[in-house]
Amino acid sequence: MSPAKGPLKGRAARLGRLMPSGPSSAARTPFVLLVVVLLGGGLISLLLLNSALNQGSFKLRELKDRTTELTDEEQALQRDVDAHAAPDALERAARRLGMVPGGSPAFLGPDGKVLGVPSAAPSPEPSPTPVPAPPTEPPAAPPATSVAGTDPAPTDQLQQQSALDTSVAGTDPARTDAASEADPAAGTAADTTASGATVPPTTLPTTSGR
């Protein structure tokens, strides 16, 4: 309006005096640039940080899915192992190989003394379903008897291995060996179970949090 055109008067004049006058614009540029750089830089770094976090969350989700997948697979494999290591399954497998349950146990000491009454195992009755191929059956049985020596009975289907070990071993240190080597199937089952027991606690929060 009209007062703005003329020389500043009154309050306006007083206010005008507060403004810096003269050629100070040259010194102002770096400051403005600094502010712009600071603001822009802050904005960009915030953006980068945010997107990094977001990317992290995508990665997290991906890894969680992967964990779930692997857990599922592990559990499925464990199920297969269990199905094969179950005593019933082992018995069937042993019978397929022509093994029979052994009689009463007999032990052979390191001095050649026989403890117990060894007896010959009954010959496997021909199974109603011709599962074992006839040619494979005879070779399966003789090694058992020849290894056993004093205990020609291929002892119980499950404990075949352990019983043979024990009958050869007899003494205490050897017996612990036999115990650890015995029953490889059960051993594996135990191992896999143990690993199965240690994995779930770490995978648990992810699997249930999905």
Binding site: N50, T68, A76, S104, L158, Q159, S162, D183
Partner: protein, 659 residues
């Protein structure tokens, strides 16, 4: 403003346009009038000029406005107070509910393993397959028979009838239906692949644009699996639909197994986590693993042997218990018939418990060993004491007889046990006290020390303590029948424990089923030591073991079928009259066999009982003896117990009556 200008001048009358000017000009010099232009061009039409309207005083109007404003402000302030102070918590909670999402992290249930760490029960991930029936209606799916088509695809995967699935998908006015529970992740993956294929097919040109399987969904859940099926099912028990233990060890140790559910809370936006906002919560604490004293292989052998015999004998049920004589640990506890805890819908509810602990029955002759223990410990007789056993014996109101009709037997006390003579046992226990009442009291004290009539100490759910009346209350016939095992009830564990006590040199070790627990931190906490009590002296126990050998190895013994070549085996047969639980009177028999081996350095006790065998023999020595032999052989092999190689004492069974 009112201080500068009198209020009445603020609204100048239209009749006097000239006069206010100097006043307003003066005012303007101090402060420009806010709307000088607007007032100007609104002069009133001259027609109104003569009518001088007396305007009302503006003061009441201002007052009205200020009062109104105050009221409005008061309402605002009140509401503000209400929101910020009075109901602040409720509103904050509402906001939080909208902003945060909370999930329960279900704790993983612990495993149950056998003594070697082989899993007998474990938990795996599973999915409940659900569906939204609304998406299968003709309007939504654009196909008239969407449920049938989908059912035909899903039925082979879920192992159900297509008609059943189609019916569920046709549920009217519903947005949720459960198609199948606890499916493996593999099944859900297959369904998901199918969904993807159909989704692509629908998007192709000419497709319906609607995924046929779009309404099939899943919910993560967890499933309890028993990898060995029926093996040890009676001991393990089962879990209910919520995954909590509902029977057996699962219910007994539910607190340890269950763990503690955790919680997670995060800031959400449209159901997705805001990654920058962070999340908080408590992680789930997985349950502890429980290690049982059971040996899986021995359990299998026991279960197989008893199942086979129960089927052959067409019996109601049978039990086998294998116990470590030194530690009291139960190595196997098998029931027949059993059930498959993986598929409870197919299980018969009658066979779902652990009958070996939950059935109370009259043990019969296997409990004669306690009477003999009392007689020997009290010093009233020795194994070679002569007992003349008549054909019949009249006591109280009854005439007692032995299993077989015989002429007068001339037996030693050892022979009484070997031939399992009821009359001989009554005669022997009659010597316990000066009067019958005293004899009863002494016998009762021994029975109770052996653990009869009290809980086994396993703390197993539903376990029975058996029935043993107080000696003062024994009926006339009871006081003569209890010595040979009728008129009192035990469970199979109690009966087995009696033999373990004798095998352990007369010290009763409380049976135990749990070796310990392994916490989520992997630390193993062993179960508390079992209580030990001395029942009879070591000498008495050794003598009893020798006497029990005669039962098995003597030509005239009743348990010859339990003999294991090369081993010294101690055992006792039992053939009891069985109380039919429905009729409430004696009907049928309980056949049993109990014993331990090697007799001179006992390691394992095996107890077997078969309830109500209806086909073939019902004598304990005939049907339980072979089971004992099979299971004992297996246990000796598994535990690598060699024969001691010492000669059996072969105590005399009979004596020559001619002086």
């Amino acid at each position: 403003m009112p201080s500068q200008e009198p209020p009445r001048r603020r609204v100048p009358g239209p009749a006097r346009p000239a006069r206010p000017r100097p006043a307003s000009a003066g005012a303007r010099s101090a402060r420009p009038a806010p709307r000088p232009g607007t007032r100007r061009p609104a002069p009133r039409p001259p027609a109104r000029k003569p009518r001088t309207i007396k305007l009302g005083s503006p003061r009441p109007r201002l007052r009205l406005i200020s009062v109104g404003l105050t009221l409005v402000m008061l309402v605002f302030v009140g509401r503000l107070l209400q929101v910020q102070a009075v109901h602040a918590d409720a509103y904050a909670a509402k906001a939080a509910a909208y902003r945060y999402q909370e999930y329960t992290l279900s704790a993983e249930r612990g495993e149950i393993t056998d003594r070697n760490g082989i899993a007998l029960a474990s938990s795996v991930d599973a999915y409940d397959i659900t569906a939204d029936p609304k998406l299968f209606t003709p309007e939504e799916s654009k196909v008239p028979d969407a449920p049938e088509q989908a059912a035909a695809l899903l039925a082979p995967l879920l192992g159900k009838e297509p008609a059943e699935i189609a019916k569920k998908l046709r549920t009217p006015k519903s947005r949720y239906t459960l198609l199948a529970r606890k499916q493996t992740p593999q099944v859900w993956n297959q369904i998901r692949d199918l969904k993807r294929v159909y989704g692509q097919k629908a998007q192709e040109p000419g497709g319906t644009k609607v995924n046929l399987l779009g309404g099939i969904l899943s919910e993560p859940s967890s499933k309890r699996v028993y990898p060995n099926g029926e093996l040890a099912a009676g001991i393990l028990g089962y879990v209910n639909a919520e995954g909590r233990g509902a029977g057996g060890v699962e219910s007994m140790l539910d607190g340890e197994l269950a763990g503690k559910d955790g919680k997670i809370r995060f800031t959400q936006s449209n159901g997705r986590q805001v990654p920058t906002a962070g999340s908080q919560g408590t992680p789930a604490v997985p349950g502890s693993d429980v290690e049982l004293t059971i040996d899986r292989d021995i359990q299998w052998a026991a279960q197989r042997a008893i199942t086979e015999q129960v089927r052959k004998s067409k019996a109601d049920r049978g039990y086998v218990i294998v116990q470590d004589t030194r530690t009291g640990e139960v190595l196997a506890m098998a029931n027949a018939p059993g059930f498959d805890p993986n598929d409870l819908s197919a299980a018969n509810s009658a066979s779902m418990g652990n009958a070996a602990l939950q059935d109370a029955y009259e043990p019969g002759s296997t409990s004669k060993v306690m009477s003999m223990a009392a007689v020997l410990e009290e010093g009233k007789a020795a194994p070679d004491t002569h007992v003349v056993v008549p054909n019949r014996l009249h006591r109280g109101d009854r005439l007692f007889k032995d299993d077989v009709d015989h002429i007068t037997w001339y037996l030693t006390l050892n022979g009484v046990l070997a031939k399992s003579s009821n009359i001989g046992t009554i005669l022997a226990t009659g010597q316990l006290g000066a009067t019958q009442a005293e004899s009863n009291r002494i016998l009762d004290s021994y029975l109770r020390k052996f653990g009869i009539g009290s809980p086994t100490g396993l703390d197993y759910p539903g376990e029975t303590s058996g029935i043993l009346a107080k000696p003062e209350k024994w009926s006339t016939s009871q006081q003569y029948t209890i010595p040979f095992g009728q008129g009192l009830s035990v469970n199979a564990m109690q009966a087995a424990s009696v033999y373990s006590t004798i095998a352990n040199g007369g010290v009763r070790v409380e049976p135990s089923l749990v070796r310990g627990t392994k916490g989520p931190d992997g630390r193993f906490t062993p179960a508390p030591e079992p209580a030990k009590t001395r029942v009879v002296s070591e000498k008495t126990a050794r003598t009893l073991a020798e006497m029990l050998e005669s039962v098995v190895d003597d030509r005239e013994g009743t348990g010859t079928r339990a003999a294991i070549p090369g081993y010294r085996v101690a055992g006792k047969t039992g053939t009891a009259n069985r109380v039919d639980p429905e009729l409430g009177r004696y009907k049928g028999y309980t056949a049993s066999f109990a014993g331990f081996a090697p007799a001179d350095a006992p390691r394992v006790t095996v107890y077997c009982a078969i309830q109500n065998p209806t086909k073939g023999s019902y004598f304990g020595g005939q049907i339980c003896g072979p089971i004992y032999k099979k299971v004992m052989e297996f246990a000796l092999k598994t535990l690598h117990v060699a024969p001691t190689g010492r000669e059996a004492p072969r105590l005399p069974v009979t004596f020559d009556p001619t002086p």
